[in-house]
């Protein structure tokens, strides 16, 4: 007996009980359709995330942060030398710092506080900065050009990105310089120093308590005057640039794009000659580290909170991550994050699969019931098949194939219905997205693996449901069956 013979027998037997078979198949169709529709949502989301990661080149991006001191290691800083060191590592294509600062922007007669980010031209040409709504990147690291993001566009109340292209952008910062802080420390102006000297009772200086109180008061006052001088005695620095491009503003975890992107050398002029008052923490950090000095343009004095390392296509992020971590830095990789997302998606899909499985188990009870009914009605036929030479194994397989056919047909129809449901869901979601002003994306997907799993799932569960009835059929005594008992 060939497999085709069994399929023929199964199809014939199922066809003669159209209504019963139809209702049983319907149970499987509903279960598989729900399973496919739900999993296609999971698969679609995973695809969207992967595409976005791919589009932005996040899979080849490793974010490096300074390393904290531990019992056995010292703290590591991210400096220009670190950048040079990273760029020499195997598999690294580009390294750029995340150099951000606050400034005041004047554009189209509007003044607003904004955050800016210094970038080299090569960094600006990476996929992460490739999603332009209008315009282009700036042409060189020293050009008086700037790229802004859609966030600034929104802050300005503009909708059309082209409006900003070619506009003058005046950026200004007020910088605190160490000179003014030192003057305040000595308090040389307005006779303050002389006044404080006169206030000291020199006769009492032999008294240790008086001496301590004078020293303590003077030290506290000096620190207060230094900070006060640093914060308030600022000098304005301004640059006028032309807006050449508008990027879609994005934020992907630790990789974000500030409102204004500036050529590196322009940014240095604005923020590199002193400490920006908008970033007091930088000043405190610098003071703590003892690096604060008089005005300087020395490259090695700059430290960064974050450096982005881009890999070549063939490089392994695990290897690069391990190498950088061995240098004492902290790393973050989007490829690793995607692994986590995928893991979470797998759990999500397993949860959905479980719901689908419950629905399918319910449907399998229908299959088992149909098969048992069928066996009861076809007892004499089973006896006849045995008299013709069928083995108990043949009888078992015939009934397993019948339940398998119910499962397979149910699975195929279920996949089609599941796909239709996912298309309907996608249309509804995209309409809502469009209505909300979000670029519509298809968050449902029906990959081949899902079709295969759904088909296998439906067929295997149906075959399992047919196991008991088939075993029962195989145990039928042909003599009794032929007597019609």
């Amino acid at each position: 007996m060939t497999f085709r013979d069994m399929i023929d027998l199964a199809a014939g037997n199922l066809w003669r009980m159209k209504l019963r078979t139809g209702l049983t198949v319907a149970g499987v169709v509903i279960a598989i359709a729900a399973f496919v529709a739900m999993l296609s949502f999971g698969a679609g989301n995973q695809r969207v995330i992967r595409e976005q990661f791919d589009e932005l080149g996040l899979f080849s991006m490793v974010i490096v942060r300074p390393g904290e001191a531990t019992d056995t290691t010292v703290a590591t800083e991210l400096t220009d030398s670190s950048i040079t060191m990273f760029s020499q590592l195997e598999g690294v294509s580009l390294v750029y710092p995340y150099d951000a600062f606050q400034l005041t922007a004047d554009v189209l007669d509007t003044q607003l506080e904004a955050s800016a980010q210094a970038l080299t031209v090569s960094a600006l040409h990476t996929p992460f900065f490739s999603d332009y709504r209008a315009g282009r990147p700036f042409t060189s690291d020293s050009s008086h050009e700037a790229v802004v993001t859609s966030v600034l566009l929104q802050d300005l109340g503009l909708e059309n990105a082209d409006t900003l292209i070619g506009s003058q952008l005046i950026l200004s910062v007020r910088q605190s310089v160490i000179d003014s802080a030192l003057i305040h420390l000595l308090d040389l102006g307005d006779g303050g120093f002389e006044r404080r000297v006169r206030a000291i009772e020199f006769r009492k200086l032999r008294d240790a308590d008086y001496r301590d109180s004078i020293l303590s008061a003077e030290l506290g006052s000096a620190i207060s005057r230094f900070v006060d001088g640093y914060m308030n005695a600022t000098v304005p620095v301004a640059e006028t640039l032309t807006v050449v491009g508008v990027l879609n503003g994005r934020r992907h975890g630790r990789a974000s794009v500030k409102q204004i992107l500036l050529p590196a050398s322009i940014a240095r002029r604005l923020a590199g000659s002193g400490f920006n008052i908008g970033n007091p923490s930088a000043m405190v950090t610098a003071l703590a580290s003892g690096r604060i000095s008089f005005q300087t343009n020395g490259e090695d004095n700059r430290t960064y909170n974050q450096v982005t390392v881009l890999m070549t296509e063939t490089a392994s992020y695990e290897k690069l991550r391990d190498t950088i971590q061995a240098m004492g830095y902290n790393t973050f990789s989007f490829a690793e994050q995607f692994k986590e997302i995928r893991r979470a998606m797998i759990y999500f899909n397993m949860g959905i699969g479980l719901i689908g499985l419950i629905a399918l188990i319910t449907a399998s009870l229908g299959i088992a019931n149909t098969m048992i009914m069928s066996i009861m009605e076809r007892t004499r036929e089973i006896g006849m098949l045995i008299s013709l030479g069928a083995t108990s194994g043949d009888i078992k397989v015939i009934f397993l194939v019948e339940s398998g056919v119910i499962g397979a047909v149910g699975a195929i129809l279920g996949i089609i219905f599941g796909w239709l449901i996912s298309r309907l869901g996608s249309t509804i979601v995209q309409t809502i997205m469009e209505h909300e002003g979000i670029t519509p994306i298809d968050i449902f997907d029906l990959p081949l693996w899902l079709i295969t799993i759904a088909f296998a799932f439906g067929t295997v569960v149906a075959v399992l449901a047919g196991l008991y009835p088939a075993s029962r059929a195989a145990r039928i005594d042909p003599v009794k069956a032929l007597r019609g008992e």
Binding site: G12, W15, R380, S387, L388, A390
Partner: protein, 236 residues
């Protein structure tokens, strides 16, 4: 003396019905020669159908032996016994046992599913046999659209299509009117003349006398008479 194609020795088949033991076949020793037409006769419950089931490999004896062409059926595995049923014997039942949703042709073809005959040849074999039995215009008819006699001829074709060495017929005319009974009887006689060994189970003395050269009478599971006559003669 011709070669026995089937031989039994002290064959028994007992059933347990509640507290009672039913001795359906009780110590039967029988030998059927190649080309013989044997009628097993007896009243209802005499054990003739049970004996036929044992000979056809549908049932297993409680004790005793059955040899078919030198093979001891008790030694065969379940698969070998199925092969014996599929290739060496054909069985015709009183109730035809045709599959209702299959056509006459498909019913006959079904018997070849368990043989080695290639798929593409099965249909030809089945169609040819049905034509030989006068059902050439009924190939695509379902059993419900056929008369009783036609249904039994389809059942006969299904038993014969695999070219068996022995045909077992269990009350083949039991559900037929006299005209159709005669036609089936004629068919069986004709088949036997062509060399087919036939074991016919019937309670119809006339049919037995008309068809069989040898009539074996059973009573309470035992053979009480085994006599050979010329077809057409009355049994003693």
């Amino acid at each position: 003396m011709t070669t026995p194609i089937i031989r039994t020795e002290s064959l028994t088949r007992f059933y347990q019905r509640g507290p009672h033991e039913v001795r359906a076949v009780d110590g039967v020793s029988l030998s059927v020669s190649t080309g013989e037409f044997v009628a097993l006769v007896g009243a209802s419950g005499s054990g003739k159908t049970t004996l036929l089931n044992l000979l056809a490999g549908l049932d297993t004896p409680t004790s005793g032996d059955i040899w078919s062409a030198g093979t001891r059926l008790c030694d065969l595995s379940a698969r070998e016994l199925a092969r014996y049923r599929a290739q060496r014997v054909g069985v015709v039942f009183q109730t035809f046992n045709l599959v209702g949703h299959r056509t006459a042709l498909a019913n006959v073809e079904l018997a070849l599913y368990f043989t080695d005959i290639p798929r593409h040849e099965r249909r030809q074999h089945a169609a040819r046999l049905l034509e030989d039995l006068g059902l050439g215009d009924r190939l695509d008819h379902r059993p419900a659209d056929l008369s009783g006699g036609e249904q039994q001829r389809v059942a006969l074709a299904r038993a014969l299509v695999k070219n068996p060495t022995v045909l077992f017929a269990d009350e083949p005319t039991g559900n037929l009117d006299s005209d159709n009974s005669d036609k089936i009887a004629d068919l069986l006689i004709d088949l036997n003349r062509r060399g087919l060994t036939i074991v016919l189970v019937t309670h119809d003395q006339e049919l037995a006398a008309r068809c069989a050269r040898r009539v074996v009478r059973m009573h309470y599971g035992k053979i009480v008479d085994d006599s050979s006559t010329e077809p057409g003669e009355s049994a003693p």
